[in-house]
Amino acid sequence: MKGRLVILWAVVGIPLLWGVMKTLQNAMKLFQ
């Protein structure tokens, strides 16, 4: 059950973190 929990959170968490990272990269332009 624990392995399934980790996999499932990774499946939704990795795309979300990728989106956050891309947004932050873009947001940096505001302070350049």
Binding site: M1, K2, R4, L5, L8, W9, V11, V12, G13, P15, L16, W18, G19, V20, K22, T23, L24, N26, A27, M28, K29, L30, F31, Q32
Partner: protein
């Protein structure tokens, strides 16, 4: 997949099921349908389907293309209101599956519309079919999460609804990457991107469909007992959806949500030109795009932060903070613009947009507090009509008042000041409605079986 797998009965969790598997199932759906907030990335490419690099005669114009998103949002609100009771009856798995079919089907029908260059097919596909997928998908995990987390309902629904904000952060760069990948001399890649996104989102939403479970009727978190003395404005009774919307509390909450959303949504849609006009010559279009990304990020984070906070300070108090802090910040914006302080201006809007997202994420738990868990998903669906109204009211207020100010000779940099004060007025109305909130009268309580 056989029909029986989709039945509510087939989704009842076995003993020992880990309830923390349910939020990622809900997130899989909300991260997908949250794509809607990034639909504008397709607006310009859709106006260049014939000309490829430029708009040619026969290409659609931006105004026509802009209706796709508006139709989708109208159908989001109306389908959530119409299908809410059905979602409660059939359970989360069948409703998530239906949402996946509608949302992905919307992309595929729209792809046919692009191929045949028939705009009405895109209105029908992404707008009507996709919009129904948005509405059903949005409400489908809400009551399930509330039942799994009776001890932390705000945090649980906040996690899912955070996905709706986060979906745009994924979809915007993904759409651009896919269009670049599929671009050829004969196509700007939109058609292929629509087909790919339809397939990707269907598969992603199916993760949620297969994972979601409802708790058994007598299930409770280990070691948790319902408080013997319920907190103020937290009911242990239930109100049915048909009865709920006859209560003054439903309409007070409707106005609360509508005012909170109106204040945020107008700014969100106009953020890029607004910061460029207020700080004319100092903020470039690319920096303004960074500003839009940053406030979208706060919109997402605020959903989890404020909804989780509401578990500790109470829903009514959380909205009190939204309205009072919102009034303070909106009234400070013209001064911050006048001072030319970009960091303070950006910080103010980051907090404002976090409260916009927080308003969406806290409302399901507020409804649960007022009306119980029995048909909270369906009641939430009906309340989302406030979003549809705010979706028209917010942008109209910001755009029309700005234009009126400019036409009256006010410099562009100051054209938003009146709008900000009007937003304060709207938040004051929301504050008064929230202040007037009282427990639902016992006459409205549901006496039948809720299992």
């Amino acid at each position: 997949m056989t029909t029986s797998l989709l039945d509510r009965q087939a989704t009842i969790a076995p003993p020992g099921f880990n309830r923390f598997l349910v939020p990622p199932a809900a997130l899989a759906v909300h991260l997908s349908i949250g794509q809607a907030y990034a639909f504008s990335t397709f607006n310009l490419p859709l106006t260049k389907l014939i000309g490829i690099t430029h708009s040619a005669p026969g290409d659609w114009d931006l105004k026509e293309v802009g209706w796709i998103f508006s139709i989708a949002i109208v159908f989001l609100g109306s389908s959530a209101a119409v299908f809410g009771r059905w979602v409660e009856r059939v359970g989360p798995r069948r409703s998530m599956f239906t949402a996946a079919l509608c949302f992905s089907g919307g992309f595929l029908v729209s792809a046919v519309g692009i191929h045949l260059h028939q705009l009405w097919l895109i209105y029908l596909g992404y707008g009507v079919l996709g919009g129904c997928g948005l509405g059903i998908g949005y409400i489908s995990p809400v009551s399930t999460l509330i039942k799994w987390f009776p001890d932390r309902p705000g945090m649980a629904t906040g996690m899912a609804i955070m996905g709706f904000g986060g979906g745009a952060l994924i979809a915007a760069p993904l759409s651009v990457m896919l269009m670049d990948h599929f671009k050829t001399a004969a196509s700007n890649g939109v058609l292929e991107t629509f087909v790919t996104m339809g397939v990707i989102y269907f598969m992603f939403m199916m993760i949620g469909v297969y994972t979601v479970r409802v708790p058994a009727a007598d299930w409770k978190p280990a070691g948790w007992t319902a408080p013997a003395q319920p907190k103020q404005l937290v009911t242990s009774a239930n109100v049915s959806v048909d009865m709920a919307w006859r209560t003054p509390q439903f309409w007070l909450l409707w106005v609360v949500l509508c005012m909170n959303v109106t204040a945020g949504i107008g700014v969100l849609g106009q953020a890029s030109p607004m910061i460029q006009e207020i700080f004319s010559g100092r903020v470039t279009p690319s920096a303004a795009a960074g500003f839009v990304g940053l406030i979208s990020l706060f919109n997402m984070v605020g959903r989890f932060f404020w909804a989780s906070t509401s578990d500790y300070i109470g829903r009514r108090n959380t909205y009190m903070v939204f309205f009072l802090l919102g009034i303070l910040l909106y009234s400070a914006v013209p001064t911050l613009g006048h001072w030319g302080s970009t960091p303070l201006f950006v910080a103010a809007f980051c907090i404002i947009l976090s409260m916009y997202g927080g308003g969406f994420a806290t409302i399901p738990a507020y409804l649960r507090d007022m009306f119980g868990t029995y048909q909270v998903g369906a009641i939430h669906g009906r309340l989302l009509t406030a979003w549809s109204v705010a979706g028209v009211l917010g942008p109209v207020l910001v755009n029309y008042i700005r234009q009126y100010q400019i036409d009256s000779g006010v410099p562009k940099a100051q054209a938003y000041s009146v709008t900000m004060y009007i937003m304060c007025g709207l938040l004051l109305i929301g504050f008064l409605c929230n202040f007037a909130m009282r427990a639902v009268d016992e006459n409205y309580h549901y006496r039948g079986s809720t299992t």
